[in-house]
Structures are given as structure tokens and as C-alpha cells.
């Protein structure tokens, strides 16, 4: 049960986290907020944006803010699963015999920055599946637990399609949010240039520890969700399917594959954190609606008609929100 101290502490720590992250990041408030919400809620984040918009810097800053060990894996086509998970190597023991000794890969860390994740082959990408969902790694039949909290913060470049392998649906589904990192505005760009002229160093300080982060997750988890709000979130997730109980018109027209049940889980976990960050002790429809874009945009597969008409996942989500909101909220 959450106590008054925990609630107060949650508020203070959130404030600190935002404050410290903002020291390294100019602008990108929505992206920062999304990444922090996902981390508190225990989800992985996929950051998509053109090169140079601060994706990697954001991940590094978060590592510093949460004071967690941080591993960066640069995904390339020749990267092998063992390069990620680690492997057994033969070592000579003191008694002269040889034995397999597990050498942990970079995944054995709290925060993993999977840079340009879509450049690796599907086989290597799949090495992350177990880690992202079960927070374990199995090598040669032996499962090893990853340290908690564990997050994968991946980046991918939307325009460099040559030599990339699109992430499979199963992999995509394991990311709680897909955040689009936009180009900075003119004012933000000026600030970025001014700041980096002085120093390129990252200055964000620790705002909380990994343990405190887990405690924050526990506190946020106790935020109540009214049954109507819960229904609304589930209906939104369900409405992305072209054939379902409350399938939406937009889904029937433009979506080939809808969101999985993980989307429903993500809605509620993230909405609770978002509500508490906003100083509210309940989840509102608005929380669900704001989270619909990062939660659903990578979980829906568009059909040919949508591609032909240049309808983006965000456009379809907007249509679904309007349709379901109109039908259900009033």
C-alpha cells in the first residue's frame, strides 16, 4: 500500500528526473516524458528519428539520471546474437582441466541502448526478444536473470533503408512505446548550438537509483483506474483490429494487423504513471488518448490501401480515437 511519504517522494523524484534530463536535452519534452513514463512503468522504448536529433544522447542522459549501468550496442549487419547475449568460452581451470565459462554480453546491464537496431539481422534482433519480455537470457540451455530494472532503449533511423532489416512484429510488440523524435524547432536548434559550443559533455546528475525507480513503479501501480476508463482503453486497443468486437471503421479500411494484448497492458501501466506524474490519483480518458499514439503506432500493420493513400499509423490512430471517443465517452 502506498504511503503519504511514497507519494510525496514520487512527485519529488519525477521533478528531479525531468529537471536533470532537461539539462542535457534541449526541447523534445514529449519524447523525454514518454521515455521516463515507459521507464517508470517498466517498458522498453523504441526511438525513431533522423540522425542527429539526440536519440542516443537522451538514452545516455537517462542512464545517468537513473544512475544505472548502461551498455551501448551498435547494431550492424554482422553483429551476432552471441555478441549481444554473451557466450560460453573454454577456460583453463587451476587444476589444469578445461571448462566452459559464461562470458556475459553487453545485454547484462540495466539500460541497453540498441543503436540502429534495424541494421542487425533478424537473428540478432531476436536475441533481444527473451531479454525484453522475460528479463532473462538463455545461452546453451542455461537461463540467466538480467539485473533489474532492465530496459532496452532502441533507436532506428527511418530513412536509411539500405542495409536494414525491419523489426519483426514480435520484436516491435515488446517495445512499450515507439517515440518519434522530431527535428528541433528554430529556437531549440539555437539553444542546442549555443550549449554544444561551450561543451559536448553531458551534465545530467543522478536523480534516483534503480531501486527507487522500482519503488516508483510500485507506487504508480496502485493508482486506481475507473472501470469506464479501463473499458475505454481496452476498446481502443481492440478497435485497431479489422475484425473484432469493437472494430473501428478506420481499422477495417486501413489496418492489416491490429495491436496485441500487450497494448492493453501498456495503456494501463503507462497511464497510471502519467496520471501520478501529473499529480492526479486516478487515470483519465485524456491519459489514455495521449498515450494511444506511442503505444499503438508500432503495433499496427497498415494494409496496401493505407500505404497507397499515404495514410500513416498516426492518422489511423486519430481516426480510431475520434470514432471510439464519440461512441463510448458520451
Amino acid at each position: 500500500m502506498a504511503t503519504e511519504q511514497e507519494i510525496i517522494k514520487f512527485g519529488q523524484q519525477c521533478e528531479d528526473i525531468f529537471k536533470q534530463t532537461s539539462r542535457d536535452m534541449i526541447g523534445q519534452k514529449d519524447v523525454i516524458e514518454g521515455a521516463i513514463i515507459a521507464m517508470i512503468a517498466g517498458g522498453n522504448v523504441l526511438l525513431e528519428g533522423v540522425p542527429g536529433v539526440g536519440k542516443t544522447r537522451l538514452v545516455r542522459s537517462l542512464g545517468r539520471v537513473f544512475d544505472l549501468p548502461f551498455s551501448r550496442i551498435q547494431f550492424t549487419p554482422d553483429l551476432m546474437p552471441a555478441d549481444v547475449t554473451g557466450t560460453n568460452i573454454i577456460v583453463k581451470q587451476k587444476d589444469g582441466n578445461s571448462a566452459f565459462n559464461f562470458q556475459p554480453g553487453p545485454i547484462f546491464s540495466n539500460i541497453i541502448l540498441a543503436d540502429e537496431i534495424n541494421r542487425a539481422t533478424p537473428k540478432t534482433q531476436s536475441a533481444l526478444l527473451e531479454a525484453m519480455q522475460e528479463h532473462t537470457v538463455t545461452v546453451m540451455g542455461v537461463s540467466r536473470k538480467l539485473p533489474e530494472p532492465f530496459f532496452v532503449l532502441a533507436t532506428q533511423n527511418p530513412i536509411e533503408q539500405d542495409g536494414t532489416y525491419p523489426l519483426p512484429e514480435a520484436q516491435m510488440d515488446r517495445f512499450m512505446f515507439k517515440l518519434i523524435v522530431p527535428n528541433p524547432g528554430l529556437g531549440e536548434l539555437r539553444e542546442i548550438v549555443n550549449m554544444t559550443q561551450k561543451t559536448m559533455a553531458e551534465v545530467a546528475d543522478r536523480a534516483c537509483t534503480g531501486e527507487e525507480l522500482l519503488k516508483m513503479r510500485e507506487t504508480a501501480n496502485q493508482i486506481p483506474v475507473a472501470s469506464d476508463v479501463l473499458d475505454y482503453a481496452m476498446r481502443l486497443a481492440n478497435a485497431t483490429h479489422s475484425v473484432s468486437e469493437c472494430s473501428s471503421e478506420a481499422a477495417r479500411k486501413y489496418i492489416r494487423i491490429g495491436a496485441s494484448p500487450r497494448a492493453g497492458q501498456a495503456f494501463i501501466s503507462a497511464a497510471k504513471v502519467k496520471a501520478l506524474i501529473n499529480g492526479r490519483f486516478n487515470v483519465a480518458y485524456s491519459d489514455i488518448e495521449e498515450l494511444a499514439y506511442p503505444i499503438l503506432r508500432h503495433r499496427i500493420k497498415m494494409n496496401f490501401e493505407a500505404i497507397a493513400e499515404r495514410i500513416s499509423p498516426d492518422d489511423v490512430i486519430k481516426m480510431i480515437l475520434e470514432e471510439i471517443g464519440r461512441k463510448y465517452k458520451n
Partner: protein
């Protein structure tokens, strides 16, 4: 303090809205009933406008409370949801669901909800009456009242339609077959009558100039009092002896029962006065020549007369053929 008490003001506001909605739906049902019943009355010409109005009142009065209690009556949850729509971000909805929860989070949530509630007055809840309901009600009301007015006007019109007295009287000696005194509504027709002269009398026309003994007045627009005019005809003479002697003083004078031009040929005129007949002996059915030219010894007229009487006694109109035969006969007599 429970949620119901907290939301009391908002609840009463929504109760008003719900009542208005129920009333509008009730009126919609009432007007629909009115429209249907008035249309039925109109088409089957049934004078039941009061029944329609009673049906409207009963349907409206019955449907309104049923709809209110079964459909529209606000609940605490509904009230919370509507109040939340004022920008309270589902605080009240969650508060109502957490009633009875004594956890710290629930307590804080309630405090948060109450603090937010203080910022919104119940008057901020706008009555949400669906536009389609208003439009539908207006249309049905216009048609319902229109149809009722039309049916009522028709009923009134039928009620006040003037009636006229039609009197067929006799001047002279004769009779009128059929209803001599009739009450006829404006624009309607009378029941046909026929002027029948007595023995030795002849029908010379109606007092309004109409010559046909058969009379049917149509499209009545005023009272009518008309006389069937009969004139006594001269006694027929014994034409066999002296066709020019028509003063009745010849050898074979007619008895009382003789000389009836309408008598059937097989009914021997003057049968009852055989002696006198024998005395005069000049007149016989087959020798009927009334105008000095036409011979009426056959049975054309008599048969036509019988058929006409049958038709009239059966409330049927006479055929044109019969009318022609009878008319010719009377015309001849009139000459």
C-alpha cells in the same frame, strides 16, 4: 460523506435534464399515437377525435414516467461521469468506484476529486438534449396536430352540414308514390317520387315547371316545396258510335268505373257496374283513343306501369325505357 451527497446538486440538475428528455420522448410517443389515430379517423371517416386526444394524453402521461425511471433517471455514476466532463478528468467517476476503500491512495483521490469539484458549479452542466430528438419531435408534433386538426375540421364540417326539407304535395286528385316529406343534407339527392293521378285525372306537371311525373331532385341546396298538379280530364266518349261526340252524352255513357285510362286491359273497367256498362257499352280497353289519334288498346303502358311500381317499391330507380313509355303516355294525355 458519500458520493451521492457530494454530487447532490449535480444530480438534481441532471434529474431536470432527464425529466425534460423523458417528457420529450413521451410527447414524441404521444404525438405519434395522435398522428396515427387521427390518420385512421380521417381515412375511415370515424368521428373519434376525442379518442385521439385521449390517446395522446394517455400515451404521453404513461410514457414519460416510464422512460424517466427506466431509461433516463440519473445514477450517481452517470452524474459523476457528466460532472467529470467539465474538466475533472474522471476524478469523480473514480471516487464513486473507490467508495468504501480506505487506502491512502483512495483517500488522496477523494480529496483531489473534492478539491476539483469545488471549482465547478452545477450550473455549468448544460442540458444535453439531442438535436435529432428536438427535430423529430417538432416534425411529429406538426404532423400530429395537423392531422388532428384536419380530422376535427372534417368532423365539424360533417356535423354542421345543413339539412333541407323536401315536401312533395298534391294539387288535384292523385297521389305521390314514395316519400312525400324528406330531410336531405346539402348537396345530396332526394329519394325519387312519382306523381300518380287518380281516375279521370291527369298529371299535368309539377308546380316548379317540371313535367316528368317521375321526380328526382339532386344537389339539394334549399328547402323544396313542390306540388304535383293534377287536372280532371274530360269523360271519354263512345268512340265507336261517334268519334266527334265526346261530351259523354251518347248512347253508351260510361259508368263510374269506366274510362280510367290507367286501368289494366284485363281489369275490365266498370266491372263493378256491369249494368251501366251494358247501357253505354261503347267504351272498352282495346278501344282507348284518348287524343283522337293514338290507340292505347295494347298493354304497353300497363305493363310499364306495373314494372315501374315494382321498381319504386323496391327503392330502385326506374329504367329509362319505362320512363319513356310512361312519359309518352302522359304526354299524350296532356295533349
Amino acid at each position: 460523506m458519500d458520493s451521492k451527497t457530494i454530487l447532490k446538486n449535480y444530480y438534481s440538475r441532471l434529474a431536470k435534464e432527464s425529466f425534460i428528455k423523458s417528457l420529450m420522448w413521451g410527447l414524441l410517443i404521444g404525438f405519434s399515437m395522435l398522428l396515427i389515430s387521427a390518420a385512421v379517423c380521417w381515412f375511415v371517416a370515424f368521428k373519434g377525435i376525442w379518442l385521439c386526444i385521449v390517446l395522446f394524453a394517455v400515451a404521453t402521461a404513461g410514457a414519460t414516467p416510464i422512460l424517466y425511471y427506466k431509461v433516463f433517471k440519473p445514477t450517481v455514476k452517470k452524474t459523476a461521469k457528466r460532472t467529470d466532463a467539465l474538466g475533472l478528468e474522471e476524478r469523480l467517476l473514480t471516487m464513486t468506484e473507490l467508495e468504501g476503500d480506505n487506502s491512502y491512495i483512495a483517500k488522496r483521490q477523494k480529496e483531489d476529486a473534492l478539491a476539483a469539484l469545488k471549482k465547478v458549479s452545477s450550473k455549468l452542466i448544460k442540458f444535453a438534449i439531442p438535436v435529432h430528438l428536438i427535430v423529430t419531435l417538432a416534425i411529429v408534433a406538426v404532423f400530429g396536430t395537423g392531422m388532428t386538426t384536419a380530422a376535427a375540421l372534417r368532423e365539424v364540417e360533417e356535423e354542421v352540414k345543413p339539412q333541407y326539407s323536401i315536401s312533395y304535395r298534391i294539387q288535384g286528385s292523385g297521389s305521390i308514390q314514395g316519400e312525400v316529406s324528406q330531410e336531405v343534407e346539402e348537396g345530396e339527392s332526394t329519394i325519387p317520387v312519382m306523381a300518380m293521378p287518380d281516375e279521370h285525372w291527369v298529371f299535368v306537371g309539377w308546380s316548379d315547371g317540371y313535367a316528368d311525373p317521375y321526380r328526382l331532385d339532386t344537389e339539394i341546396s334549399d328547402d323544396i316545396e313542390v306540388y304535383a298538379l293534377f287536372e280532371e280530364m274530360d269523360q271519354p266518349e263512345n268512340l265507336d258510335e261517334d268519334p266527334n261526340d265526346n261530351d259523354g252524352e251518347g248512347e253508351g255513357e260510361l259508368g263510374e268505373g269506366e274510362g280510367n285510362p290507367f286501368q289494366l286491359p284485363d281489369e275490365k273497367p266498370g266491372d263493378e257496374n256491369e249494368d251501366e256498362k251494358e247501357g253505354g257499352g261503347a267504351y272498352e280497353d282495346k278501344n282507348q283513343i284518348i287524343d283522337g289519334e293514338t290507340y292505347y288498346g295494347d298493354s304497353n303502358f300497363d305493363n310499364a306501369y306495373d314494372d315501374a311500381m315494382d321498381d319504386l317499391s323496391g327503392d330502385n330507380d326506374m329504367s329509362d325505357d319505362l320512363k319513356g313509355i310512361i312519359q309518352d303516355y302522359y304526354d299524350t294525355i296532356a295533349k
